[in-house]
């Protein structure tokens, strides 16, 4: 295993906190290298491991419960009719 540089380190050289790394992952902004680094980091950091699992479970729950399905029936036709009447 290469002693790789922390890919979360910004241009200003500031060392990222656990929280900052975790947020980049959760927000879907992490690069491949950052994801790999964080996975290894979690092996040795119990708080990150636990928090990551809780946060991912919340994300899954949100997706499963808050996406709301389809828009009300007839809305598409209603919009199309209105648009067509503005053209005419």
């Amino acid at each position: 295993m290469a002693t790789s540089q922390n890919p979360f380190i910004q241009a200003d050289g500031k060392k990222p906190t656990c929280m900052e790394m975790l947020q980049t992952i959760l927000d879907g902004e992490a690069t491949r290298e950052q994801k790999d680094y964080f996975k290894q980091h979690m092996d040795g950091c119990m708080p990150c491991y636990k928090e990551y699992n809780v946060d991912m479970a919340i994300k899954e729950l949100l997706k499963a419960k808050c996406c709301g399905g389809n828009c009300p029936e007839g809305l598409v036709e209603q919009i199309k009719a209105k648009v067509n009447s503005t053209i005419a």
């Binding site: 927000d27 708080p47 808050c66 709301g68 809305l75 209603q78 919009i79």
Partner: protein
């Protein structure tokens, strides 16, 4: 209304119809859900979505064909909501942005990582708990969660949709996640997870 400083396009009526039907309409379900999560009312959401699509058609020449239609539509919907609905309900924004920025930059953040909500208690939230928790957040916090976690927008897209800097998107998301967790924690407690 334009997204960036894209030059004004010129489309024929057929092209306009094509863009509208093929690039705008496929997002109607996401748009409706966004409208509902903002207004928390199904009829208002319907009106908001309809207004948004009519505006999108009226301003279609400031949309560049083949670019990010979803982000463009979300931005129009968000602006319509602020201008037409938020004013009506006179709901003041409770988010103190200055406070959010300093909050995030403080040393406090690392201490926050002590998890006190457990995956097992989340697994039992099979009803409306998560939806109610989300809806209870202040609209600015609710919005970033919707855009990021439900719709998968990137920081850059969210910054454009919301007209705020990327740093603010990030700090607002951080704060929103914590507030949501607080809510879920209290639900977990009421469900009998005393150690939740």
């Amino acid at each position: 209304m334009e997204f960036e400083d894209a030059p004004r396009q010129h489309y024929s009526e057929t092209e306009k119809q094509g863009i509208f039907n093929n690039e705008f309409m496929p997002h109607i379900h996401s748009m409706y859900n966004f409208g509902y999560r903002l207004t928390l009312d199904r009829d208002d959401a319907k009106d908001l979505v309809q207004d948004t699509y009519l505006k999108a058609y009226r301003f279609i020449e400031s949309f560049q064909k083949g670019t990010n239609a979803k982000a463009w539509l979300f931005r129009i919907l968000k602006n319509s909501f602020i201008n037409d609905y938020r004013k009506k309900s006179k709901e003041p924004s409770k988010v103190d942005y200055q406070e959010v920025e300093t909050y995030y930059n403080s040393e406090e953040v690392d201490r926050q990582i002590t998890p006190d909500l457990r995956v097992e208690s989340l697994k039992d939230m099979i009803g409306d708990e998560i939806s109610n928790a989300l809806n209870s957040l202040d609209v600015d916090f609710r919005t970033v969660i919707i855009l990021c976690d439900l719709e998968g927008f990137k920081y850059e897209e969210m910054a454009k949709i919301l007209d705020i800097p990327i740093g603010t998107v990030r700090s607002r998301l951080h704060r929103a996640r914590n507030l949501l967790k607080e809510k879920l924690k209290s639900y977990a407690k009421s469900m009998g997870y005393n150690n939740a």
